[in-house]
């Protein structure tokens, strides 16, 4: 990173905010402005973050703009067909060099003074070039590129952190669970055109944590949706409400939960009929077809979440301690016939789009949790994350550590990782320690 040496901002020790052994968390992690700034530096900047899906880039020049933390980035395919990601900030005065959501271009030309960058990030044109001193090296003023970019089965991730372990390693056992969504089809997945984007007055962790860990809310929060979706129209049977299941918790903060009851399958009828479950069993194994492929939820730490059966993949972009922006794509298998893809698209938008019958109730919960977090007394409460304490085991069937479906286990794992990152100087702070005596 080309930056002037800067004294790292003071960092708070967040250990006192957690007693995870007792399942207690201080509520200030959702509302404190200083912790939020520290989170951008120590959680978002050093972590692998989801950017986009490979199917969004088909020819050189295709681009998509998004965010990593609060940093705007451009993801684009270069002339060599390599996908790269850059800070969407002109190296001259910092203006965004691309203000479109997606498209195709040969170059990103800043509309302020006209610095122009090609799709590999190189600075290719500087108006009034002669006005710069002899030492001005145009090659040194290309767009700031991410330190590492890699894909996992169609999903593009990147990090600013040159010291981050490789993506595969950072995902760890989580890939076994992700494959229940990403690897049903030998040809892989693609996303439907367009991205749902909406704002939510809530801290991003409320949503990320819930997708990692919270099956608990489903029967209550989504009672109305479950009712209209049940074949009887009266609500799911007791055996489905009380479904058995497992919840995976990962040392890197990822989490996933899924019922293991064969009937607890909230998929679209057309999509359900399309799948050959015998083939899927051969491909993914019985445990996965009867587990994470039934239905469920998952978060890849820190802010990428997905719903394997609805085909919703989404990022919770942080926009301050009190606000997030949800960006959600619809994922389908490449080999699905068009009518099946369309059925999946409609099912996802009607359940988990911004008008979706599930999503509406989730949003209400998160904005309400946030609204009360600023009261002194309400904001000083320790919150309860005790469900399933001590239930985690290695069950020999599901990779890594799993516990009961109804548990806060993956939330505890998510926050253990968050706490550790918050208390660890990131690479950019260590550079400074090295550079300065």
């Amino acid at each position: 990173m080309s930056a002037l040496p800067r004294t790292p901002a003071a960092a708070a020790d967040v250990s006192p905010l957690f007693d995870l052994g007792q399942g207690l968390i201080d509520r200030s992690i959702f509302s404190d402005e200083t912790l939020y700034r520290q989170e951008l530096r120590r959680v978002f900047a050093p972590s692998w973050l989801f950017l986009a899906h490979e199917s969004q880039f088909n020819k050189p020049g295709d681009f998509f703009t998004t965010y990593m933390g609060e940093d705007p980035v451009i993801v684009t395919m270069g002339r060599d067909r390599r996908i790269r990601a850059f800070l969407n900030a002109c190296r001259h005065r910092g203006m965004r060099v691309c203000r479109a959501d997606a498209g195709a271009t040969k170059a990103f030309t800043c509309s302020y003074h006209g610095w122009s960058y090609d799709t590999s990030g190189k600075l290719i044109n500087v108006p009034n070039r002669d006005g710069y001193p002899d030492g001005f090296d145009q090659d040194k003023w290309g767009l700031t590129e991410v330190a590492q970019l890699d894909t996992y089965k169609g999903l593009i991730f990147a990090t600013w952190n040159p010291e981050a372990p490789p993506l595969r390693q950072a995902l760890g056992d989580m890939t076994w669970y992700m494959d229940a969504m990403l690897d049903r089809d030998p040809d892989g997945t693609e996303v439907v055109g367009g991205v749902h984007k909406w704002v939510l007055e809530g801290n991003w962790k409320l949503a990320a944590e819930q997708f990692a860990s919270d099956w608990y809310h489903v029967n209550i929060s989504h009672a109305s949706a479950l009712m209209v979706m049940s074949p009887s129209g009266k609500g799911p049977k007791a055996e489905i409400v009380q479904t058995p299941g497992r919840q995976y918790t990962d040392p890197n903060g990822h989490g996933a939960g899924f019922p293991t009851h064969p009937k607890s399958r909230f998929d679209d009828r057309v999509v359900h009929h399309y799948y050959d479950y015998e083939k899927l069993r051969e491909r993914l194994g019985d445990t996965r077809v009867e587990g994470p492929m039934t239905t469920g939820h998952a978060t890849v730490f820190p802010n990428f979440s997905y719903l394997p059966v609805n085909g919703s993949i989404r990022v919770w972009h942080p926009k301050g301690p009190d606000r997030m922006e949800v960006w959600a794509w619809t994922l389908v298998d490449k080999s699905m016939p068009d009518e099946v893809k369309n059925a999946q698209r409609l099912y996802n938008l009607r359940t988990f789009g911004p008008t979706g019958i599930f999503e509406q109730d989730d949003g209400e919960n998160w904005s309400e949790c946030q609204a009360t977090a600023h009261g002194f007394m309400a904001g000083s409460m320790a919150l309860n994350y005790q469900m399933g304490l001590g239930s985690e085991t290695e069950d020999g069937t599901h990779p890594g550590t799993t516990g009961h479906l109804y548990s806060d286990g993956a939330a505890r794992g998510f926050y253990a990782r968050w706490r550790d990152l918050m208390n660890t100087p990131a690479w950019h702070e260590k550079d400074h320690e090295k550079d300065t005596p």
Binding site: G103, V192, G233, L346, P354
Partner: protein
């Protein structure tokens, strides 16, 4: 979406509101102009009344009654709006088959409405207050006889709980058709919401 500019007072004759079977006439001769203008006014008046009724039903949360205004083969669609480079403006409104805010049939709307009636739709309990304002109505005959294309602008204000406020603004292009009782039904609706990132946590009403 094609933008049609119409002189609001132009004597563009439409099929008569009172006699829907009457063929649309080309620029009427000057002596007939007042009659044609009157027909046009009546049609606009009829469509406006439909929209005012619709707005009232939605604001009173009378969704089952609202469904009655929709044709059985309804397509109700609100594509996503994206920011595109000027030379790629044709891609700015989401295409059919892409991610959308609404992409509904009458049956799927009925499904959404059944959820509201479950007594457990917590995102609307207590219910929001909404006000649908419908304006800038322009109606023209469709190629299909007895059908009209109606464009309108909407502004929907939602106030929720103590101080949550959301404003949804945009335009709608409807295909209206006469039902068996002679009244107008909404057969197709395309909603262009004037937002990129939806500036609300959800849309819990209809537009």
């Amino acid at each position: 979406m094609s933008i049609r500019t119409e002189e609001p007072t132009a004597a563009v004759s439409t099929g008569s509101a009172l006699d829907p079977g009457a063929p649309a006439q080309e620029a009427a001769p000057s002596s007939a102009a007042p009659a044609a203008a009157l027909d046009n006014m009546l049609l606009h008046f009829e469509v406006q009344r439909l929209y005012h009724l619709e707005a009232q039903l939605l604001d009173q949360h009378r969704y089952a009654d609202w469904l009655e205004l929709l044709a059985d083969d309804l397509h109700y669609w609100a594509p996503v709006r994206t920011n595109r480079l000027r030379r790629q403006q044709s891609l700015a409104d989401g295409a059919p088959g892409e991610v959308a805010i609404f992409d509904e049939t009458k049956a799927s709307l009925a499904w959404r409405i059944r959820r509201f009636d479950s007594g457990m739709a917590w995102a609307e309990d207590p219910p929001s207050r909404t006000r649908h304002l419908i304006t800038n109505v322009m109606v023209r005959p469709d190629d299909e006889p007895g059908q009209y294309v109606a464009e309108s602008a909407f502004l929907c204000y939602r106030n929720r709980l103590e101080r949550e406020v959301d404003i949804y603004a945009g335009c709608r292009t409807d295909v209206l058709r006469r039902g068996t009782d002679g009244g107008l039904l909404i057969a197709r609706r395309t909603i262009l919401l004037d937002q990129n990132v939806l500036l609300a946590k959800n849309i819990s009403t209809f537009l």
